[in-house]
């Protein structure tokens, strides 16, 4: 630990202690800056590599700017180079098309997010706003599933999807995720519990059904937490690797994470296609980077709130 320092000490206005405190402060700033650099600079190095050619990377290992600036790596990743060109540039020459993987990732993440958030909201409504026998028992069961490691259910789920004949289909890929996630139910239930009942009671007196209350009062009033939840779920699904690796090997449903793994294993042994690999990495990271640029504050603030993993 670098500072063993209580924050209040800095608030004490004592001129005699000012100087050492400032020293400590600048020391702390330096350390924070290093942590930020370690977190962010690797991404620059990925970009720099993606814009270089394989041939010149070896001779310019430490050049801060792209070595021999060139878009060939991106062309290779999107299947726009002929195999001969690709091999000449240090690629494997194998057919690769990240457009398809990008489309599949978008479909996979969007379908599972929209569906899981909606159904989880319905369940959370039942757990938070309706009174029925066995509610707490059922809720505890749902909570307990958060403890089951994904690998454990993945094996039987794979068998189920296989027996249904859904291997290598988008439906098989999304099916285990579309009904709910335990976290989403827990997260939304907390919000629904804290929402005021007055409007709801008034609506009930006017004869509104539960469906109307859910759609016209609960959902609109929970727009902010719903958006946060959708964002976090989408990023989580975007990054999912294990399940798509099991059921989505086929090129037609291969998502970006799996595609990256395949691309890496195809890369020539001994002299990997580094610029191609880094271009592919960047393409895979870009959508999350864009989401983060737009909704960064929402994401950052949600961490303090719930400690989502």
């Amino acid at each position: 630990m670098t500072t063993t320092h209580a924050p209040a000490t800095s608030r004490v206005k004592s001129t005699r202690r000012r100087r050492p405190i400032n020293w400590r402060k600048s020391g702390a700033w330096v350390l924070v800056a290093i942590a930020v650099a370690v977190s962010v600079l690797p991404f620059y190095w990925v970009l720099r590599t993606a814009l270089s050619t394989n041939g010149s990377l070896a001779t310019n290992a430490s050049n801060l700017l792209p070595a021999d600036f060139n878009l060939g790596a991106f062309k290779r990743v999107f299947g726009l180079q002929s195999p001969e060109e690709a091999i000449a540039d240090g690629g494997s020459g194998a057919q690769i098309d990240f457009w398809i993987y990008l489309r599949n990732s978008v479909l996979f993440a969007a379908i599972t997010t929209a569906s899981a958030v909606f159904f989880s909201a319905m369940a959370a409504y039942a757990f938070a706003r309706l009174r029925w026998r066995g509610r707490n028992v059922v809720f505890s069961l749902f909570l307990a599933t958060m403890m089951v490691p994904p690998i454990f259910t993945a094996l039987p789920n794979f068998l189920l999807i296989k027996n249904m004949g859904l291997l290598n289909s988008m439906l098989g890929l999304v099916l285990p995720y579309i009904f709910m996630t335990p976290f989403a139910i827990f997260f939304l239930r907390q919000f629904f519990l804290n929402m005021s009942r007055e409007v709801e009671e008034a609506a009930k007196l006017d004869g509104a059904s539960h469906l109307r209350i859910f759609f016209q009062i609960i959902l609109p009033n929970a727009a902010a937490p719903l958006a946060t939840l959708a964002l976090l779920t989408f990023i989580g699904q975007w990054n999912e690797y294990f399940w798509p690796l099991l059921v989505g090997q086929d090129e037609s449903v291969r998502v970006l994470t799996v595609g990256l793994g395949v691309f890496k294993s195809q890369s020539p042994q001994g002299a990997p296609d580094w610029s191609g690999l880094m271009a592919a990495t960047l393409v895979s990271a870009l959508p999350v980077l864009i989401l983060f640029a737009i909704f960064g504050k929402k994401i950052v603030n949600s961490i303090g709130f719930s400690g989502i993993k």
């Binding site: 190095w45 319905m122 709910m180 580094w274 690999l277 400690g307």
Partner: protein
């Protein structure tokens, strides 16, 4: 994805509005609202859990029917050197993560609490966490490359011997742990930072008036009040680390030899490469049991400290 929240205690289910609708419940309408989630719960959580336990007592190679063989899989596992290797290697990975990640994150959180509360800095620190494991793995596979990676270039340029981060047995697991620490450090720091923010500032003022040294204040106020958050961070780190797979699968594939053949990768190989689903399921049950024990111990620890803030 493992999910944990700070106030996940099912005990606090005091619901507002218990006053309405005496006697009659909303069973029918509740069934309607809960039906889709219930289907998902039964089909993809409950049944697979039971089926996974059942399969662990069978011999099953996907083709044909599972054949009941009692505890034979578990007996074989007890004598399987690759299993014990996997357990040892995974434990090593978990331990490095706990120490490195928690210490770095705690330090970083304290620093942020003192000087940098801006959202931009917090966002920058969180960035690695939002990336897929596969991306983090490939990124570091390049940066740490033995031949032309920038890290080895820097190591070389200050006159130290280059390190085969992925290619040597002694570095294989520490390297995986470093990648994971890089990805989680900022996230963990933000969790602890949130915990620091919730400590009432008047406590520090009182301590200050009483002439407590910074070290005393840290040990007597900050640390005890931070304990619930630290316990949460620990449980998240341990449970997540035990399930390491993605980064290993993309980079070393368990190698060199068995140096990074972690538990989940071993399960994957048994079940999907060798089509030995019974054995794979038994290994998964053991992993599940380990995580359950860890969670149980941690829960007790968490509960015992819940009152600290009151």
């Amino acid at each position: 994805m493992t999910t944990l929240t700070r106030n996940a205690s099912p005990a606090e289910q005091v619901l507002p509005g218990t006053r309405r609708r005496r006697g009659r419940g909303d069973v029918k309408i509740a069934l309607f609202f809960i039906a889709p989630a219930m289907i998902g719960f039964v089909l993809f959580y409950l049944v697979p859990t039971l089926r996974g336990i059942y399969l662990s007592f069978t011999e099953y190679s996907i083709l044909g029917e599972p054949e009941w063989i009692g505890v034979a899989n578990y007996q074989a596992i007890a004598k399987d050197p690759l299993f014990w290797n996997a357990l040892g290697v995974t434990t090593q990975y978990v331990l490095i993560n706990i120490v490195l990640q928690t210490a770095l994150a705690l330090g970083l959180a304290l620093l942020m609490h003192r000087v940098a509360k801006s959202t931009i800095i917090r966002g920058a620190l969180l960035l690695p966490y939002l990336m897929a494991n596969v991306i983090a793995a490939l990124l570091w596979f390049w940066l740490l490359d033995y031949q032309i990676g920038i890290v080895n270039f820097l190591i070389d340029s200050i006159g130290l011997p280059k390190i085969a981060f992925f290619g040597s047995a002694e570095w294989a697991i520490p390297t995986q742990a470093l990648i994971n620490t890089w990805r989680h450090m900022g996230y963990t720091a933000l969790l602890i930072f949130a915990g620091l923010q919730s400590i009432p500032s008047h406590l520090y003022e009182v301590a200050n008036l009483d002439g407590a040294s910074p070290m005393q204040t840290f040990r007597k106020i900050t640390l005890p009040l931070l304990r619930p958050v630290l316990a949460l961070v620990l449980i998240v780190t341990i449970i997540g680390s035990f399930q390491v797979f993605d980064t290993v699968a993309v980079t070393t594939q368990g190698g060199p030899v068995n140096a990074s053949r972690v538990l989940q990768f071993y399960i994957y190989q048994k079940a999907f490469t060798e089509s030995d689903f019974g054995y794979g399921s038994a290994l998964a049950v053991i992993l599940f049991a380990i995580l359950a024990i860890v969670a149980f111990i941690q829960m007790k620890f968490l509960k015992g400290n819940e009152s600290d803030l009151d």
